[in-house]
Symmetry: C2
Subunit: 378 residues, 2 copies
């Protein structure tokens, strides 16, 4: 179907129970879903070129409004022709609202119903983020999908705090929709509600009624248990609008993605594959591999013998371990590439198995193999 | 002609005054000379893949025996099938003797006529490097060209110290030649003599008479002035064996290479293009560009408009500056690649102009354009 914003569309191509394979059409890219969006915080997916990122299958990546707003500045990016041209990423880009980083990184936050005043974590300068300012900054960056400003309380926040954040998020969502739109930029709403299923469902109904191009679940991976998250996503996914993209923000492990896809979610982002890759943790079809462990010192095997990424087809665990131990810059690069390759391949296979109608048994097998082969405790 | 070691050869293809273009044949690669060898200290040219390094035109790179001996260990590399397979570099590799790093990095050096005892800069363990041990370690690494162990005194060392180092270097060179040879591994001798032209000439005659596969000038860029170095190289180059490769070790800037090529040198290595690239200094046909300078903040031009490297054909100075200011890992990678591309292209054009017979005027024009456009003082 055609989405509210011109140039965007979404079609469900196949269904398997609650899971679905689809096609999210944007002016710059057709994004096959389920899909993982690599995180390019500061207009770069750390250590990798856009060309490498696209070889992992990604046709949409994420950039952080807070970071780019403060440095190099949204006006500077706009004068460069926008984010796509600046970073040389030809496919789609989704920007977040900036709110999450204001709450997690900035200093001296002063929150009111109109917005939030904060000091930059870089230089202490004062800034004010409102729903309208977030939309204005995202318009200057020129992303394909803009996220509304929301308030994300901590996972352990009491019920009344969560309810207040929901009310504010709903109010801000309406203001974001009323703000001037950038041509060719879609807008996604965000559902809050903490770990309370009834609040989540109520807030989902509120946000879904506003007519966004897509709906996101925010406020996960902020302190709740993995079991709580999986149960909530399973309850919420099927209730989200069937005719538009459903996005689970900031989640997660391959197993988290498999569970969320089963619940009917379409889009994901997470720093996990790149952050863990930089720290020497590779994600494979047989669980996590910690290259810093001595057992890999003389291991001539690749990270994953079934992986066709450049890292696995070229270098041994012994070499990758040597690079990490020697603090060589090639190390985070090669493992980040492998990890993103795994996420891309995981989503590609998920689409295939949804179309084939055996998603559930396939996903259970993948999750079990990852659990059984995992070499990292906890 | 065929060099002393089986599988190696060297032919001068063109001459222009003292400059020469040649072909250095090794079992794994034909190296067109003049040629720059990128430095892969710890079995990796920092931040780059072997494939990227080879796109710069390099068919031989350098690895450091001292570093690899201490970590991950030459025996471990040998069990992995040698350095080429370990790092996935299919072309030729030259290893240094380890001596230079022992003198510059290691602690508690105890030098005698037989060798040098030192403590590792990594963990303080005691090791002993002798001419035979250097050859044994380089044989285990499996490089295509091994360098003899030499003693390199400081550039300001008094004449008698330089003479003693020359005698020791000559003695060690003979011992290296007597050590068991690895099949398919050539050996290069090293000329010392400090900044004293008469000593340099005498030592060159001594080393050249020993029948190495190639002869190197060591002990430059260790404290002498640029003018002294250029004058010495100009005096020594034409006196070096005409029928084998001539290697100037550890030098230098593009202008240094142009001057040395004019003197008949063939092979070069230096950390400058990669080290300076990591620090935000790009080398271009119009001099050095410091990306940290504010003037590049909104500069949409590439590092060098005439450069065809991936960095210059994809990203602006404004983006590269943003990456450096934001401490992003992609920054050193993209500028290292550009700088190596410049060195590769400089050597390729030098070969063309030697063949065309106009090397001198071409090189003078290049050096003048680099001087005139340089934006970094000193």
């Amino acid at each position: 179907m055609t989405l509210p914003t011109t140039g965007f569309g979404f079609d469900v191509i196949a269904r398997d129970a609650d899971a679905r394979a689809g096609s999210f059409r944007t002016p710059r890219a057709v994004v096959e879903t389920p899909c993982f969006m690599p995180v390019g915080t500061q207009a770069t997916v750390k250590s990798l070129t856009p060309e490498e990122v696209s070889t992992t299958g990604a046709r949409i990546c994420l950039a952080n409004t807070y970071h780019l707003w403060l440095r190099p500045g949204a006006d500077l990016v706009e004068r460069r022709g926008g984010l796509h041209r600046f970073m040389a990423w030809p496919h789609a880009i989704l920007t977040d609202s900036g709110g999450y980083q204001v709450f997690s990184l900035a200093e001296l936050r002063d929150l009111d119903d109109d917005g939030v005043t904060f000091r930059s974590h870089l230089d202490g300068t004062r800034h004010r983020l409102t729903p309208e300012e977030s939309m204005r900054v995202q318009a200057m960056l020129g992303s394909d999908v803009a996220m509304v400003l929301d308030e994300c309380p901590h996972g352990a926040a009491p019920r009344d705090v969560v309810e207040a954040a929901m009310r504010r998020t709903s109010h801000w969502a309406r203001r974001c929709l009323s703000a001037p739109a950038r041509e060719g930029q879609a807008r996604f709403g965000i559902v809050q509600g903490g770990a309370h299923e009834d609040l989540r469902i109520a807030h989902l109904e509120d946000i879904a009624a506003l007519g966004f191009d897509g709906v996101a679940l925010g406020g996960f991976s902020v302190g709740e248990s993995r079991e709580e998250m999986h149960a909530l996503v399973a309850a919420l996914g099927p209730r989200m609008p069937a005719d538009r993209p459903r996005y689970l923000m900031g989640v997660g492990t391959p197993q988290d993605l498999l569970a969320a896809v089963a619940a009917g979610l379409d889009l994901f982002d997470c720093v996990l594959p790149t952050r863990n890759g930089r720290n020497g943790q590779a994600l494979t079809w047989h669980g996590r591999v910690n290259l810093r462990q001595a057992r890999h010192r003389e291991d001539d095997a690749p990270l994953d013998p079934s992986c066709t990424c450049p890292t696995c087809t070229t270098w041994s665990r012994a070499y990758l371990r040597h690079l990490f131990v020697s603090k060589e810059m090639l190390a985070p690069r090669l493992v980040s590439l492998h990890n993103l390759w795994l996420y891309g391949e995981l989503m590609r296979r998920a689409r295939e198995h949804i179309a084939a109608g055996d998603y559930g048994s396939w996903a259970a097998g993948v999750a079990e193999a990852m659990r059984a082969g995992d070499e990292i405790g906890g």
